[in-house]
């Protein structure tokens, strides 16, 4: 991309004159250029993402330790999860990751309409993910008594350490679902600003890029959580 398209016909003057519009937006004056600002923001995002990985590393480590100590409880717990729900959620997250990457590309090319559509699809996928998790997983497991820790009251448990499995399951998937919700709000903010001001375009897409990076790391963590919780028994 060497030339920025200057054709602004069809865009209302209200939006074009807004200081929020990507053509009018200036980078902060302490940066030498918009490029430097963008690179620094992205580097900061990667640092943050590495701390996210470390957060989930604690959960993965707990999983590994308790799996080694109580393999029977872990096998029982894994068998009582429905792999179809996990697989559906995996497909949803992978697809939404693709639409998020698409959104970044379309934003770079200043295709505002399809950019917004892709962001919208990503948000809908986030809602679908959380809905499946809450209705078909938590909503079925909790009434059966398959609850974490002291709340565990499933009468047919065969291993005394099964409450520990459910603690780890709810903490792991719960923190992940919380990240999905945060990502959905990020994209909702992006979508609102894109719709209201056309705030994102070829020279101004830092938040789009960083929200997409956040979304990809959420997807990446689910890529590991899914086999660990659902498939390994």
């Amino acid at each position: 991309m060497t030339m920025i398209d200057t054709d602004t016909s069809g865009v209302p003057a209200r939006i074009l004159k807004s200081p929020m519009h990507w053509r009018n937006a200036k980078h902060q004056s302490h940066w030498r250029s918009g490029d430097e600002e963008f690179d620094a923001a992205k580097f900061g995002m990667w640092l943050f993402l590495s701390t996210e990985v470390l957060l989930f590393a604690g959960i993965f480590c707990g999983y590994a330790v308790f799996r080694m100590l109580y393999p029977e409880a872990w096998a029982n717990g894994s068998h009582s999860l429905d792999w179809r729900m996990g697989a559906a959620n995996t497909a949803i997250l992978l697809f939404s990751s693709w639409t998020a990457a698409n959104a970044v590309r379309l934003c770079q090319l200043d295709k505002q309409f399809w950019f917004k559509i892709n962001i919208l699809i990503t948000i809908l996928c986030a809602i679908a993910f959380v809905a499946i998790k809450f209705t078909f997983e938590y909503g079925i497991k909790l009434p059966e008594g398959k609850a974490p820790g002291t709340f565990f009251s499933y009468p047919y448990a065969t291993d005394p350490h099964e409450p520990l499995w459910w603690s780890l399951y709810y903490i792991g998937t719960g923190i992940h679902a919380f990240h999905v919700i945060i990502g959905a709000f990020l994209f909702a903010f992006v979508l609102w600003r894109a719709h209201r001001y056309q705030a994102y375009g070829p020279t101004q897409y830092t938040l789009v890029e960083n929200s997409a990076l956040y979304w990809h790391i959420v997807d990446l963590i689910w890529i590991f959580l899914f086999p660990l919780l659902y498939l390994i028994h």
Binding site: M1, T2, I4, R23, K26, H27, S29, W31, R32, S33, G34, D35, F38, D39, K42, F43, W46, L47, L49, S50, T51, V53, L54, A57, F60, C61, A64, V65, M68, L69, Y70, P71, W83, A87, A91, L94, F95, S97, W98, A100, A101, N102, V104, R105, Q108, L109, P202, T203, L213, H216, D219, L220, I223, F224, F226, P227, L228, L231, I232, H233
Partner: protein
Amino acid sequence: MSQDTTNASNNLGWDPIDPHGINPHDEAHKGHFVADWKMQISILVILLVFTVLTVGFYNLEQWAETAFEITLPKWINIAGAMSIATVKAILVAAFFMQLKYDKVLNTFVMLFCLFCVALFLGFTMIDLGSRHLVDPERAPPIVAGGTGVGLNAAPVDKKFSLILSPKVNTGGSNIVYYARLHGNEEKPGLLYYREKGDEASFWKKFYGAHASGRDELDERNFYEQLGFTTGTSISDSNASHPRYGLTPGLFSDVDPKTAESQDDGH
């Protein structure tokens, strides 16, 4: 235009006409990678295929187990699922997160983070996997197919026997102190030595060989309640009293000399 001026007139790395480069129509982001949509959609398809593969592998294994009673070793299940997950994660990071086309610094940050995770998980696993070398009773539980660990290990120590001890009524006191008083089949307790009148053995048992042998029994002056007092008397210039173990009162707030002089005053 400003870009041309910069290149032509100076080597400063910034534009003297527009030093902060705040002209929004500058060619910002001109070098940034714009992904190819064909590449992106093929990555999505590959990721979905890998998801189908890992789920299929899982179901194949389950089917083999129920239909033919073939139980594959656990590591095949784990290695299969985790290697597919790793490939998927690399694809997402390299192409969706564009690490392949991005600055190397970002990749380095993530790799260093993964190195830290590997240290974290690795040392935890080394710890957990080698505990049975120190304490044989901490060997991993028996699993179908066996772990191969401890096949030639020495028999488990008798004191860690799984046969539960008979329930005793300790009268509300700590089981450790109860055991010290009453003893068990192998070792007699303090009460045994008192009944026997073997004072030397009593104090040896009481204090143990080390300061850690002292406990709350001593703070309560329990030995006096049991009927022994000679062990507590302190040698002075007039008389030398033999005693066993540690100096009484060494770790207590009460100064034994003051306590003794008070006794003399009565």
